[in-house]
């Protein structure tokens, strides 16, 4: 495997610090909770401030107003969002949509990229068609009629629909079956006629939706990419790597809160942190987290260097992160005891989002299986 690990560059460290500082003002009590309860805050408002600091356009060329950094820098931002359990359109927008649009001839999609950079375009993924992620299931069809495409099918948006302005939709072009046909990716407005949303509430309080595409008619330029499926496959891996970074942030938040809780809570006349049985459980989680951190960096570096083994590296990372972070979610709750079961205590915003992010684009079992297949067994 030709992957070369490296440290964060100075620029990446600066972005990391800036993103952590910015997100600190949005802990669950100030954002995820009121958002869930439908009061006062909105993702659009958050996203506006977030974008004005250059986070949404971190990967865009400075000539388009962006910061000109890569996946590794973007991953630091995803991690920072995770540290505060902030539901946002970052992964679909800065991860997947930027990747799709930046890979096209320069200037062709400048208007979209500018809108992303300015925070005016927020995306959600309409790739999945099953409740459980299955990358190769695409039954949605796009028929060409003159200068437009007509989309029909059922999609499931698992996460980050929130205040999305646009959808990325995968479809079989001209209705050919998946193994012979071309797979297209469309960028369409959420309020496009013929796009019927049935809103769903996700476990973590964020919003998803079932989408019916009922003859939605879009222009030719909504079709951003068409090929045998390689583009979609690559975009899914981008999303997975970013989910890994966010999962790392979520798990670190759980872990840090748990260790500090144990240092302060007294039972049997002693701090809980003085009991070796609990120390060892925390030490094991710390070791697991260190390996998880390396896996996140490896996945981001693989994307950035376009390593030939990127699918394998990303699946190793998503499998590892899924397993480790769910374990940390369980342990964080167990070590906190009864208080972790109360809605008033914020820990559940982190643990719930861990389960949501793990399931998104394939959980640990899905990716363990993909690792075995890619390794030839």
């Amino acid at each position: 495997m030709a992957l070369k690990m490296r440290c964060l560059s100075d620029d990446e460290t600066l972005v990391q610090q800036a993103a952590f500082d910015f997100c600190k003002a949005f802990p669950p009590s100030a954002f995820a909770r009121p958002l869930r309860d439908g009061s006062k805050v909105s993702i659009a408002g958050f996203w506006c401030d977030f974008s004005s600091l250059g986070f949404a356009g971190v990967r865009l060329d400075p000539s388009k107003g962006g910061t000109g950094l890569g996946h590794v820098a973007a991953g630091q931002i995803a991690e920072a969002l995770g540290r505060q359990a902030i539901p946002s359109p970052f992964i679909a927008t800065t991860g997947i949509a930027c990747d799709l649009l930046m890979g096209k001839p320069p200037t062709l999609y400048d208007h979209h990229l500018r809108a992303i950079n300015d925070g005016n375009m927020r995306l959600a993924l309409a790739f999945d068609e099953r409740g459980r992620h299955a990358h190769n299931v695409i039954e949605t069809q796009a028929h060409c009629h003159g200068d437009s495409w007509v989309l029909s099918g059922q999609k499931r948006v698992a996460m980050q629909l929130g205040d999305a302005t646009h959808l990325l939709v995968s479809a079989l072009l001209d209705g050919l079956p998946a193994d012979t046909g071309k797979i297209g990716i469309f960028l369409i407005p959420v309020d496009q006629p013929g796009v019927i949303l049935s809103r769903r509430e996700n476990l973590d309080g964020s919003l998803g939706a079932d989408i019916s595409l009922d003859g939605a008619t879009v222009s030719q330029d909504a079709l951003i990419s068409s090929d045998d499926g390689a583009a979609l496959s690559g975009l899914l891996d981008v999303g997975r790597a970013y989910l890994c970074a966010e999962l790392l942030g979520l798990a670190e938040a759980c872990f840090i809160q748990t260790v500090s809780f144990l240092k302060q809570r007294e039972q049997f006349g002693a701090k809980l942190s003085s009991f070796q049985a609990l120390q060892h459980r925390c030490a094991q989680l710390y070791a697991d987290l260190q390996l998880a951190r390396s896996a996140v960096l490896a996945a981001l570096l693989a994307l950035e260097s376009q390593a030939p083994d990127t699918p394998l590296i990303v699946s190793v990372a998503k499998a590892k992160l899924g397993k480790v972070t769910k374990q940390i979610a369980h342990e964080a709750m167990q070590l906190h005891g009864g208080i972790s079961m109360t809605d008033a205590f914020d820990l559940h915003f982190f643990t719930k989002r861990i389960w949501v992010c793990d399931a998104a684009l394939g959980d640990d079992t899905y990716h363990s299986r993909r690792v075995a297949e890619l390794l030839g067994y």
Binding site: L262, A283, Y286, S294, L297, A317, A372, G376, Y377
Partner: protein
């Protein structure tokens, strides 16, 4: 970069002086030269490779020339290592003198100690053993009782050490001894260097469950060690030992002394060939995933060290712990894939028929030696988490 004059010079030298057989991967763990006063070589090439590299000072390339090294900068040493890796060269010398004692002497040794002890290490002329554990001081190492009483210009040693790897084949030992029985436990310990041929020393190999006897008990009966061979200050032994154990844990975690790891997925593919068992393949996939992430972690630590960043707390313990867990899992999965075949062999058959079972048994020791997994968890809880 590839036209760097030093790189070209290294490449040309290796072309001439690295014998072909030494460019083949090691076939077993520690399958390289240990050196020493009575060295054993598996072949002439192994001897020649050691001598060639020693002459060049490239066994310990970054050590000063005066101490047997080549005085290379880190960049030059990296280039040398890259060129060695590029031709798959085996290490010319392995052992605790080079990996553990050398770095400690460079940091804590007197000029005289460095001059006397470093060059023979860098030339592979003296083989070192480690003397830490005692029969009643295992995980609780600081309770060790080997006593060293200063009498004139020598320390007189009485007591015993255990689990000393290859002490029977080594020439000298670095050890921890109690020089002050009144001081608090950790502060009464000193770090001493002792010639293993000194009168009063008895070395006894211990036969292990895998049939090998690499570990020894060593008994000290009024053994005299020069006072000049106390490293650092009296009572500073624990500090030095902890430093040295960090080098040891990084070494065990990185496993640079072992044959190259199997191609990723090899175990899974061979298991599929033997018996298409989905549960077994699922466990192997989990193992492969963990192996990749541990490898990336070792690479990340190396990159951070090379960039001069401070080591993340307790990382040596993290990789030692996870490496040990993974090694045992891996060897056990090999047993699972082969079933009873791995656990039996024809009467009188060669040792190679027993390799799978032996490797499995041997792997257990990685969770015990160099501080047990539980000790690593203690260290992480204390130093990384402040618990």
């Amino acid at each position: 970069m590839s036209h760097d004059p030093f790189r070209l010079q290294v490449r040309a030298w290796l072309e001439t002086y690295c014998p072909q057989p030494m460019r083949q991967p090691m076939t077993e763990e520690f399958g390289a030269a240990w050196g020493g006063r009575n060295p054993e070589f598996s072949c002439d090439s192994e001897r020649g490779w050691l001598l060639n590299m020693a002459q060049k000072g490239w066994i310990a390339p970054q050590w000063p020339v005066a101490f047997g090294g080549a005085g290379l900068s880190r960049e030059e040493a990296d280039i040398l290592q890259q060129e060695l890796d590029a031709i798959g060269a085996r290490p010319p010398l392995i052992g605790s003198g080079l990996w553990m004692l050398g770095p400690v002497l460079l940091e804590y040794g007197t000029e005289d100690q460095k001059r006397r002890h470093l060059p023979p290490i860098a030339r592979g002329e003296v083989r070192w053993a480690q003397g830490y554990s005692e029969p009643n001081a295992g995980s609780d190492l600081a309770s060790l009782k080997l006593r060293a009483d200063l009498v004139g210009d020598a320390y007189v040693l009485n007591g015993s050490k255990i689990w000393s790897s290859y002490a029977d084949k080594s020439d000298w030992m670095f050890l921890l001894a109690r020089t002050d029985f009144n001081a608090p436990q950790h502060q009464g310990i000193s770090f001493l260097l002792v010639d293993l041929t000194a009168p009063g020393i008895t070395r006894r190999p211990i036969k292990l469950i895998d049939g090998t006897h690499d570990f020894c008990e060593v008994f000290f009966d009024n053994v005299r060690a020069q006072a000049d061979d106390l490293v650092g200050l009296p009572g500073q032994g624990w500090t030095i030992a902890k430093k040295l154990m960090d080098y040891e844990r990084l070494m065990i975690g990185a496993a640079s002394f072992a044959p190259p790891p199997a191609q990723p997925g090899a175990l899974g593919r061979s298991a599929k060939g033997i018996d298409d068992n989905a549960m077994l393949r699922a466990q192997i996939a989990q193992y492969d995933i963990d192996a990749f992430t541990l490898d990336w972690t070792n690479q990340r630590i190396r990159a951070e060290m090379e960039a001069g960043l401070p080591l993340v707390p307790a990382m040596a313990s993290v990789t030692k712990l996870m490496g040990a867990v993974l090694e045992i899992e891996g060897k056990e999965l090999v047993l699972k894939a082969h079933g009873s075949d791995a656990l039996s062999w024809p009467v009188g058959s060669p040792a190679s028929d027993r390799a799978l079972a032996k490797d499995f048994l041997r792997a257990r020791s990685s969770a015990i030696a160099g501080g047990t997994n539980e000790i690593q968890l203690n260290i992480i809880a204390k130093h990384a988490l402040g618990m």
